[in-house]
């Protein structure tokens, strides 16, 4: 494995792998996380090497718990870290903010990954840099995998020196970009510590509160002084135009400057909270124009506007006036702004784009779909059979979000982890519509249980809750959760049974085999007849996981095929069930279709066989 290569070696790492390497080079002793893309590969990498390196690794039930676990370890003198996606920080923030006040003993680093453009998130284009301001915590922002490694180490250094937790913030194109990295030495981790009682140190109750708050000010000032310069890169150029940038934007800026053969001064900020005021002042003092290149919110820009008032009031400041506030940047997005600011002719990307649109015309899109044999597809299909198109289908976060697409279109809203429950409760409070709320197994443990408790507590008129239990956190790469039966270190543990939790919360519970349509439909009908809080656990292992397990044992699925004599071409299997392994093929456009199953894509779940109205599908016969 490249992340475990010797010090001094040059390897190619994913940004997130580089962060994992940085963590072990810092001697991290405890790492706890709830998986969330684009941060997932930090824990994935560490879970693979935890035993070998000797760190204590866990997947926690949600980000707040993960952060608290890390904080407790850091208070007890062990370097600790957590990683999460931006929305994960919303969950963890309740504990992060007060811990920033009381501080830490050993280093505590919170890696948080934003996702402008929403490659792997569907909630908002949240700019997490605001959290650093709200929590009053330092925030480092690497631009590439090498810095991702280096900054992780510096984050630990700052955290420990100033007894304050530190954010390490990335965006998708830092976390999921690859780059050449020179490795440093792996530090032997310290994993044993001791919590030393110190009344008054670990809470913010008055009169502590203001004292603690004041102390943060001092810490931040010192950090700015000691690290402002060290974490700021200035590339000297010619003329009186400057660029100020951060994160991955720096990588684009360098390339544009090279492409356009221009030579402006460039300032790259590696620490975006606190911003290095002195460095920025001296950078802008003699400039006529600066262009601020930062994705999402104009945070650096607003700061520069403020600073310029004193040191260079005539400075022309460009930022969000020429660049978008939404989406991800890349060279094409940035070029026109460079054209304007530098008075340069830049390539016109529109013509090429038009030519491309022309050749793409009429081609089917390839939206993400549930895997062949996915238990969720089977569940959606059965639910639709029983509840039809009129019921309100409350969506949630997980692979089942793919149920938003055709042919199911069974996620009427998708808001955040566990929100299907709370929102359906609100709807049921004021309406008699039929509501079915979907929630995943990992999501159930993460944020679903309070929602269910509330349904029981406050409403007799509850929705039907369907827990889509595939045994694992599938979307982010198969991480275990409290119901999986093993830990993040791969140790066996007694799984918590969702049906038992639901029963204890007072629900009427049924469990169905997600790969058995008859079972699903019968259980659904039973529950449909009843009133009050009802939970169906639709259980079937994530098919991708099954596939990987079988593959490791060199076992293949029994695949299925369509008997062409019996097939009546009703298109039920393609139009209403839509397993990607089943194809409708036509030799010529207007010819009658033939329905076939691609044996290389079929993952043998047998559900298509169960739903075919003419019994035309059967296990493939050996030739």
């Amino acid at each position: 494995m490249d992340v475990l290569e010797k010090a001094g070696r040059k390897v190619v790492l994913l940004g997130n792998e580089a962060i994992a390497r940085g963590a072990i080079e810092s001697g991290v002793g405890v790492f706890a996380a709830y998986p969330g893309t684009p941060s997932s590969e930090v824990p994935i990498t560490l879970s693979r090497i935890a035993k070998k390196v000797g760190i204590k690794f866990e997947y926690s039930s949600n980000e707040k718990v993960a952060f608290e676990t890390a904080a407790g370890a850091a208070w007890s003198g062990v370097r600790a870290m957590t990683a999460m996606k931006h929305f994960g920080l919303n969950v963890a923030s309740d504990s992060v903010l007060p811990v920033a006040y009381v501080g830490v003993k050993a280093g505590l680093v919170i890696m948080v990954a934003d996702d402008p453009q929403g490659w792997s998130s569907a909630q908002s284009e949240q700019d997490t840099r605001y959290y650093a301001r709200m929590a009053r915590m330092p925030m480092l922002e690497p631009s590439n995998p090498q810095e991702a490694l280096d900054f992780t180490k510096i984050a630990f250094e700052i955290s420990e020196a100033f007894e304050i937790p530190v954010f390490l913030r990335t965006t998708t194109k830092v976390s999921h970009s690859i780059g050449t990295v020179r490795l440093g030495k792996i530090e032997k981790p310290k994993t044993r510590g001791r919590f030393v009682k110190d009344l008054g140190r670990y809470y913010n109750i008055r009169p502590n509160l203001q004292e603690m708050h004041k102390r943060i000010d001092k810490k931040l000032m010192k950090i700015e002084k000691r690290y402002g310069r060290r974490l700021t890169k200035v590339l000297k150029g010619k003329g009186r135009v400057g660029i100020i940038t951060n994160g991955v934007s720096f990588e684009y800026v360098k390339e544009i400057v090279h492409e356009l053969k221009i030579n402006p001064h460039i300032m790259k900020l590696g620490m975006t909270h606190p911003l290095p005021k002195k460095e920025i002042e001296s950078f802008i003092r003699d400039k006529k124009v600066v262009l601020i290149v930062e994705e999402l919110e104009p945070i650096i820009e607003n700061f520069v506007v403020r600073v310029a008032k004193d040191v260079n009031p005539k400075l022309v400041i460009h930022g969000k006036d020429v660049l978008p506030r939404y989406g991800e940047y890349n060279v094409e997005v940035l070029m026109p702004a460079f054209g304007k600011v530098f008075g340069k002719k830049v390539p016109d990307f529109r013509k090429h784009r038009k030519d491309v649109e022309k050749v793409l015309r009429g081609l089917a899109p390839r939206k993400p779909v549930m895997c062949p044999g996915c238990p969720h597809r089977s569940t959606f299909y059965a639910v639709k059979k029983v509840f039809g198109d009129k019921a309100i289908y409350a969506g949630d976060i997980g692979c089942y979000v793919l149920g938003i697409f055709e042919p199911f279109e069974m996620q009427d809203f998708v808001i955040s982890m566990g929100a299907s429950l709370g929102i359906s409760h609100g709807i049921k409070k004021v309406s008699n519509q039929e509501v079915v709320a979907f929630v995943g197994d990992s999501t159930f443990f993460h944020a679903g249980m309070p929602g269910i408790a509330n349904l029981r507590f406050n409403d007799g008129n509850a929705p039907l809750v369907i827990v889509m239990d595939n045994g694992i956190t599938a979307m982010t790469g198969h991480q275990p959760h409290p119901g999986s039966g093993f830990t993040g270190m791969g140790e066996p543990v007694t799984p918590i049974k969702i049906e038992e939790v639901a029963k204890a919360l007072g629900a009427e519970v049924r469990v169905a085999n997600a790969f058995n349509q008859k079972d699903l439909i019968e259980r659904l009908k039973e529950l449909k007849e009843r009133k009050g809080l009802r939970v169906l656990v639709s259980r079937g292992e994530c098919r991708l996981l099954t596939k990987r397990k079988l593959r490791a044992k060199d076992v293949r699925f029994v695949t299925f095929e369509i008997d062409q004599e019996k097939c009546m071409k009703c298109s039920e299997c393609t139009d209403h069930f839509s397993c990607p392994a089943i194809m409708e093929v036509r030799e010529k456009p207007n010819e009658e279709a033939k329905y076939v199953i691609d044996p290389d894509l079929c993952w043998g779940c047998s559900v298509c066989m169960q739903i075919c109205p003419y019994n035309a599908i059967r296990p493939r016969r050996k030739k």
Binding site: D2, K10, V11, V12, L14, T37, P38, S40, E41, W119, S120, N144, T172, K173, H176, S177, I178, G179, T180, V248, F250, E251, Y252, K254, E255, H258, N330, V331, E332, P347, F349, H352, D355, V356, V359, L360, L363, A364, P365, R366, K367, P368, V369, M370, C371, C399, L402, E406, P407, M475, T476, G477, T574, D575, S578, P580, M583, P589, D598, L601
Partner: protein, 194 residues
């Protein structure tokens, strides 16, 4: 010098593995490497463009490839080759297309038929300096009984265009394929000799 490779295909790990092999091989040759590997939702049967860029450090820093700037497109699925045209241009880009169609589910649902390979070639041509099409997966299936090795055949064929030493390829294949190292090396050779 800088060399831009776009690997494009459908879901799964195949594309990522090929991209990783290229990145490693380039690294062994001493190049500075950058690129993008998207994970997550994009992997669920979506189309995933993966970038690998290598060359002199001063000339590349962005992880992504700019419009029309790919030197080489490895399309592991024909329809995806058309989607790669954004990154391609006539004067520069070589296309290697694996003729092993993977019907998008939406071809059925939206009644958009899957184009024939000639139609795909016609659409890609205005963006290609050279265009190579062959069915590596069927070759792999026949030879090894494993379609995934088709990706390595494609890579073997395309290796002639990339300024990377053979020694580094071999090392990269060994490092990137925990299973079936022998078969992968053999598949690479088949591609090289095509």
């Amino acid at each position: 010098m800088r060399y831009n490779v776009l690997c494009i295909g459908v879901g799964g790990e195949g594309v990522l593995t090929a991209a990783t092999m290229i990145a490693r091989a380039a690294n062994y040759d001493g190049y500075y490497v950058r690129g993008v590997q998207l994970h997550g939702l994009a992997q669920r049967g979506g189309s995933i463009p993966t970038f690998v860029r290598f060359g002199d450090k001063g000339e590349l820093s962005s992880p992504g490839i700019m419009q029309g700037d790919a030197n080489l497109v490895l399309a592991f699925e024909p329809l995806e080759a058309v989607r790669a045209t954004y990154y391609a241009r006539k004067e520069k880009t070589i296309f290697v297309i694996n003729d092993f169609p993977h019907m998008p589910v939406y071809a059925n649902l939206l009644n958009l038929p899957y184009p024939k390979i000639d139609e795909i070639k016609k659409r890609v041509k205005p963006f290609a300096k050279q265009l190579f099409v062959f069915d590596a997966h069927s070759i792999a299936k026949e030879r090894f009984g494993e379609v995934v090795l088709g990706n390595t055949i494609v890579l073997g064929f395309a290796s002639r265009f990339m300024p990377i030493k053979r020694k580094s390829w071999v090392k990269a294949i060994k490092a990137s394929s925990p299973r079936m190292i022998k078969e992968n090396l053999e598949a690479f050779r088949i591609g090289e000799n095509m």
